[in-house]
Symmetry: C2
Subunit: 198 residues, 2 copies
DNA sequence: AAATTGTTTGACATTATTGTCAAATATTTT
DNA sequence: AAAATATTTGACAATAATGTCAAACAATTT
């Protein structure tokens, strides 16, 4: 069965991305990927050589998007508090679009076998450093409390990401409806902003 | 080779716990577990029937400890701010003792195949509800900002756990020494307390 | 010391998954 | 339409991991 609307390679890649990072089948077998894309398993090898390579490609694309968006925000010309707000909004949006990306990061971060050719290649950037300098500036100005500026970044990422990553667990622990928790997370955006500033 | 000091069953269980949750080999093969304990692989099956069962047993023991400690803190008779401080201290201590426990939680939480007999059995408790009531009380008193009390709990767990879970990633992103980051996390305890209260 | 019970071992069968390859089929170029 | 190229398919080999089992061995009881 030939594909009319989309070339097979693109199709496989898109379906794999959704399977990995939207549906959370991070360890899907090549058979599972092929089935989800509606193609034979061998085509995964034909177009991408190996399942791992396919995974690496989809992961790299997502991370590249993420990084590029973050960098734009870090150096954007706008009042600091607006910038933080934009950062929070974007992070929430991205985490909810690909809720399982962070899950993979966590799985891989601590992987014993992680080597130089690891899929994960975290790195800082000039843009991030610029933002950190700005945080220090605002600490001088008294807008935020004074401590190591990295803490401010840690706070943002922690307060936004952790509840999303742990959502199913928290729903059971707090014994509330899924919809109620989602509403809570929505309202939480304001809570986070309040907490971050004096 | 017979074991003198410790019966084989206990030995395997202890080594497996360390391998899983201290060293982070969450997906260790039965061979790896046996090697680490210095016994033949079949003994894992002999004493624990299956690798999965062994994992479940070690996991359950850890979680039982964790829950019981948390419950004690939740209902302990002491000023609210001291209680929160104790909670933070304990959480940091526990996360650093078993840094990979949370990693497993995150892996499993979203597992598609998670069924009724899943290893994960999160649940609330009367003690937690008691603590939440107390949080609401302190919001009335003006010690903490007013919002859905669950946010306060989310904040504590997020601010403590996320930087520990993501430690290796943050070290690379912020391009700082491991020792420097550990020092930062140590000092961070105070940062968290400051943030949580008005 | 013979019998019973508990523990350890190596060999085996089973299952799941991966990547390769040659043959079949479709598409494009000449 | 013949040739060349690209894509798809099914069969195959290799690998890794799991759990079972009977036999060997050790310890304990009678």
């Amino acid at each position: 069965m030939p594909n009319i609307d989309k070339c097979t390679e693109k199709l496989i890649k898109e379906k794999a991305t959704a399977l990995f990072f939207v549906l959370g089948h991070i360890n899907a077998s090549s058979q599972e990927i092929a089935d989800y894309a509606g193609v034979k398993r061998t085509l995964v090898n034909y177009y991408f050589r190996s399942k791992n390579n396919l995974f690496k490609i989809t992961y790299d694309e997502l991370i590249t998007n993420l990084k590029s968006s973050l960098k734009k925000i870090y150096i954007s010309k706008q009042p600091f508090s607006n910038k933080v707000e934009e950062l929070i909004d974007f992070l929430i949006f991205f985490r909810e679009s690909y809720p399982y990306l962070e899950k993979f990061n966590i799985q891989e971060i601590n992987n014993i076998n992680r080597s130089a050719d690891s899929i994960l290649q975290p790195q800082g950037s000039a843009e991030l450093n610029y933002f950190i300098k700005e945080v220090e500036q605002e600490m001088e100005n008294g807008l935020i409390k004074k401590y190591h500026p990295i803490n401010f970044i840690l706070n943002i990422f922690s307060l936004v990401s952790f509840p999303i990553v742990m959502k199913p667990l928290f729903i059971e622990i707090f014994d509330i409806d899924k919809s109620e928790f989602i509403a809570l997370l929505k309202a939480r955006k304001q809570v986070i902003k309040t907490i971050l500033f004096n």
